[in-house]
């Protein structure tokens, strides 16, 4: 295991919760960012991040170090997010909440920076994507993984990742262009 986390992983496998706590501390921000981009909700992101670490602890005995610990952890996080029962109704509700929050700020006369506006548009567009396409975009665009690495995380072929990224980018371009036109 040629990984900076190797020693901590080994200690955890021997039953040290303290070593696992250090691993959580080191990777918590990365996992929270991923779960937030996948859900668009701070509360859900927190729950899913917690669930990711609980599952990781549960499965750490099976971790053999063939991949980096962070890649392995990413995989658990993505699967946790994909299994998250995000029904169409729930997704619609999130988008509605996002839009309502945005309108309320307008009505209250609050100034919304163009960065905030852009951020909300992107979050809304990401949530409209199918979960697997969203995962491909989050891993490759935000976390900077190559298609091969993302394939390892998602447990599919590199071609599948490329296709998902391509399809997602095409949709995002369309939706975000429309949003820009509406703003003008």
């Amino acid at each position: 295991m040629a990984d900076a986390d190797a020693d901590l992983v080994l200690q955890t496998q021997k039953g040290s919760p303290a070593a696992f706590e250090v691993l959580v501390r080191q990777h918590q921000r990365m996992i929270h960012s991923l779960t937030f981009r996948m859900t668009g909700s701070l509360a859900d992101a927190e729950d899913l991040a917690q669930e990711t670490f609980l599952r990781a602890y549960e499965q750490i005995g099976a971790f053999r170090g063939t991949a980096k610990f962070s890649t392995w952890l990413y995989r658990i996080a993505v699967n946790t997010c994909l299994n998250w029962r995000q029904s169409e109704a729930r997704r619609f509700q999130l988008q509605t909440n996002c839009a309502e929050e945005f309108s309320a700020q307008h009505l209250n006369g609050e100034t919304i920076s163009s960065e905030d506006q852009s951020s909300q548009q992107v979050q809304s567009a990401l949530l409209k994507l199918p979960a697997k396409q969203r995962a491909a975009i989050v891993l490759t665009i935000y976390d900077g993984l190559s298609h091969a690495e993302a394939a390892q995380v998602l447990g599919c072929s590199e071609n599948t990742v490329s296709w998902r990224v391509f399809a997602a980018r095409r949709k995002l371009k369309r939706w975000l262009s429309q949003a820009e036109v509406c703003d003008e």
Binding site: P17, R37, Q121
Partner: protein, 114 residues
């Protein structure tokens, strides 16, 4: 919108900041959850060890039960009979050899056969 425009637009998505206190508390929250929701939990390698011990105990139990099972008694009786048969066969073999060396005995046998 071109690829570059899309990428910079996507990267404008910001993850809301959390307080330092939150980051300090999160690992201990996970630890508490581990104890609360999965009290019986331990990493899988240790579960495997427990499983192996359990399996060994179960196997030993089955062997002890088998020792006192009626089938075991039957098989012991068969083995005893088999040993007796081999002893008798060995004696017969010796007896037959003596019989064949005794010409009178052989003549008697041939007369009986005819």
């Amino acid at each position: 919108m071109n690829d570059f425009g899309l990428e910079s637009k996507l990267k404008s998505l910001r993850v809301p900041e959390r307080t330092q206190e939150y980051w300090n508390d999160f690992p201990s929250q996970v630890r508490v959850q581990l104890r609360r929701s999965r009290p019986e939990f331990s990493p899988r390698s240790f579960s495997s060890l427990r499983f192996a011990c359990g399996g060994g105990f179960a196997l030993a139990l089955v062997m002890v039960c088998f020792q006192f099972h009626p089938l075991q008694t039957v098989s012991l009786a068969i083995a005893k009979q088999e040993r007796h048969f081999h002893t008798q066969l060995a004696r017969l073999d010796t007896g037959l050899h003596k019989l064949m060396l005794n010409t009178d005995g052989m003549g008697y046998l041939l007369t009986e056969a005819n």
